[in-house]
């Protein structure tokens, strides 16, 4: 698979202006993401996940190493708009990233900045709003929307610029369960239907299982790279980085500790259900 996003020994350190101390936030990160991939990044608070997310579209530039987006180095200032058009960034708090008071105007914000003509803009905005299912709300003021709807508008704002990749920094952590489902469905839909590359930074283990590849971050570096299945079957890794598996897998782990023979663990709830049912059958037979 060709490398759409490529991190080459990337490190980032910030300098405290008061006492000239240097804090290393990212250390020697190597990463490659192909077109249409869905990867997720997990890790404890303060491990550098958010800093990493800002490196994708050149909001932050690495202090060491290089980042190539489709072959363009993020340090190249003349091509910065090209990079930002290719890679959209969605933040945690929907209120902080909606710029305009009306849905449609906000979605158009990025295109307006690029000086795109009105007809193309109209087309792109409508298309973006339709693909997140917010087209009916295009003339609503943003303060009347729910959290999930606001976050979908924020995604539409990024989508309107026709990005090839969307980086989402904990997009669901401030939403209620229904809002969270709306946003996750939207993300999965974008990945499957339009082949948009997704980098999802998250805390939530259930969200991990949507992705094809999981990167675990700890203290500024990527310590492990696994598929969700591998990760969930590896209790050592889960414990070490303080990750809690989804409750279905937790149940299987508990059963295993009780002495039952668990054959497989999967992030898919249905497979887990089947496994638990077969265990129950076994118990029944034994009695």
């Amino acid at each position: 698979m060709e490398n759409f996003i490529l991190f080459n020994n990337v490190s980032f350190s910030s300098i405290n202006e008061y006492d000239d101390t240097k804090t290393e936030i990212l250390k020697d990160i190597n990463l490659s993401v192909g077109h249409g991939e869905f990867i997720s990044v997990v890790g404890k608070n303060g491990c550098g996940k958010s800093t990493l997310s800002k490196h994708f579209n050149a909001v932050l530039v690495p202090t060491g190493g290089d980042i190539l987006i489709d072959g363009i180095n993020t340090k190249c200032e003349e091509k910065i708009f090209e990079i930002r058009q290719k890679i959209g960034l969605v933040l945690q708090n929907p209120d902080n990233q909606i710029i305009s008071g009306v849905v449609e105007d906000d979605v158009a914000f990025g295109l307006e900045n690029l000086g795109i003509n009105r007809y193309t803009m109209r087309e792109n905005v409508d298309k973006a709003l339709k693909s997140v299912g917010m087209y009916e709300y295009k003339n609503s003021p943003t303060y009347t929307l729910s959290g999930g709807q606001k976050q979908r508008v924020a995604i539409a704002g990024v989508l309107a610029m026709n990005p090839e990749c969307i980086v989402l920094d904990e997009p669901t952590s401030m939403l209620d369960p229904s809002g969270r489902k709306e946003v996750l469905d939207t993300i999965v839909n974008l990945n499957k239907k339009f082949g948009t590359t997704i980098v999802l930074i998250t805390h939530d283990m259930e969200e991990l299982s949507l992705s094809g590849r999981v990167l675990i971050m700890d203290e500024g570096s990527i310590v492990s790279e696994k598929t969700p299945e591998e990760l969930f079957c590896n209790s050592h890794l889960l414990n070490r980085y303080g990750l809690l598996p989804p409750s279905s897998i937790k149940l299987l782990y508990n059963l295993e500790n009780e002495g039952y023979k668990v054959k497989l663990k999967s992030p898919d709830t249905e497979i887990c259900t089947k496994e638990i049912l077969s265990l129950l059958e076994e118990v029944k037979c034994r009695r």
């Binding site: 990233q97 710029i99 009306v102 295109l111 900045n113 003509n117 009105r118 303060y143 009347t144």
Partner: protein
């Protein structure tokens, strides 16, 4: 939805005022400001009130919302005018202890209340019917001549849009902080004014802190959506002056002439 409309928020609709060009609305509002401060006698006052009533009617927003969104400011105006009544000059109608009420002062108070209220209502009607980006477009247009002084009209317009957008958000956040501090036992209903002011410190600090955090997030969001001052911005909305806009200007100019006539030319 209408219950949580606070000062200066956009209410979507399709009334005549909604359809007007934002530039015309702002221009008319400036003329209206002149009108309201010129009118001082009973004839011009009635023209003023009548024209405000027409504007409210055309905005398609219920009168209740106007009162609701301006109630605190109206209360302040009313209070200051009550004090104004006791300002002692002219012929006394009523005397009590050190307080003297004169015909002049009553008249003045009533005029001020009517002027400021009508100004508040007309400005609200503009805010209710114009979305933020339209307002910023109008401001940008009017500020274009300032580019001679190297002032970037586009930046100022964006700044205004953002501050308007954050009014309801900061308002909501203030309420949240107040409730959070109350639940920790903060005494916010103290009658003692000094204690009351002091008790608001733990509300103001978190509010500032959170606002700065918001601002830095917003900067990242704007930057990642290519906000810049190199490329000339375009707008998704198209603005054309229509017959409706011209008739609105004519309407406001007719009122201006009427008020000038009542004030200066009538005997």
């Amino acid at each position: 939805m209408i219950e949580n409309v606070c000062l200066g928020q956009y209410i979507p609709g399709s009334s005549i005022l909604h359809r007007l060009d934002p530039r015309i609305k702002i221009l008319s509002f400036v003329i209206f400001m002149i009108i309201s401060f010129m009118s001082g006698n009973i004839f011009s006052m009635s023209i003023l009130i009548l024209s405000v009533a027409v504007i409210i009617l055309l905005s398609g927003v219920p009168l209740k919302v106007y009162f609701q969104s301006t109630k605190y400011i109206l209360f302040l105006i009313f209070l200051s005018c009550v004090f104004n009544v006791f300002y002692d000059y002219g012929e006394a109608v009523f005397k009590f202890w050190v307080l003297t009420v004169t015909l002049e002062s009553i008249k003045n108070s009533v005029i001020i209340i009517l002027r400021v209220t009508s100004l508040m209502f007309v400005s609200s009607s503009v805010m209710f019917t114009t979305s933020h980006s339209n307002i910023s477009f109008a401001i940008e247009t009017f500020m274009k001549p300032l580019s001679i002084f190297k002032i970037n009209a586009q930046d100022i317009a964006t700044m205004i849009t953002i501050s308007l957008k954050f009014v309801p958000i900061i308002f909501e956040e203030t309420n949240k902080i107040i409730n959070a501090q109350r639940s920790r036992g903060a005494d916010l209903d103290n009658k003692n004014i000094i204690k009351k002011v002091k008790s608001y410190i733990p509300i103001i600090f978190p509010l500032f802190f959170l606002s700065f955090k918001r601002a830095s997030d917003l900067a990242v969001a704007m930057e990642s959506r290519c906000y810049n001052n190199i490329i000339k911005r375009t707008s998704i909305r198209e603005f054309k002056i229509s017959i409706l806009d011209i008739s609105c200007l004519i309407y406001i100019i007719v009122i201006l002439i009427g008020v000038v006539y009542c004030e200066y030319l009538m005997i």
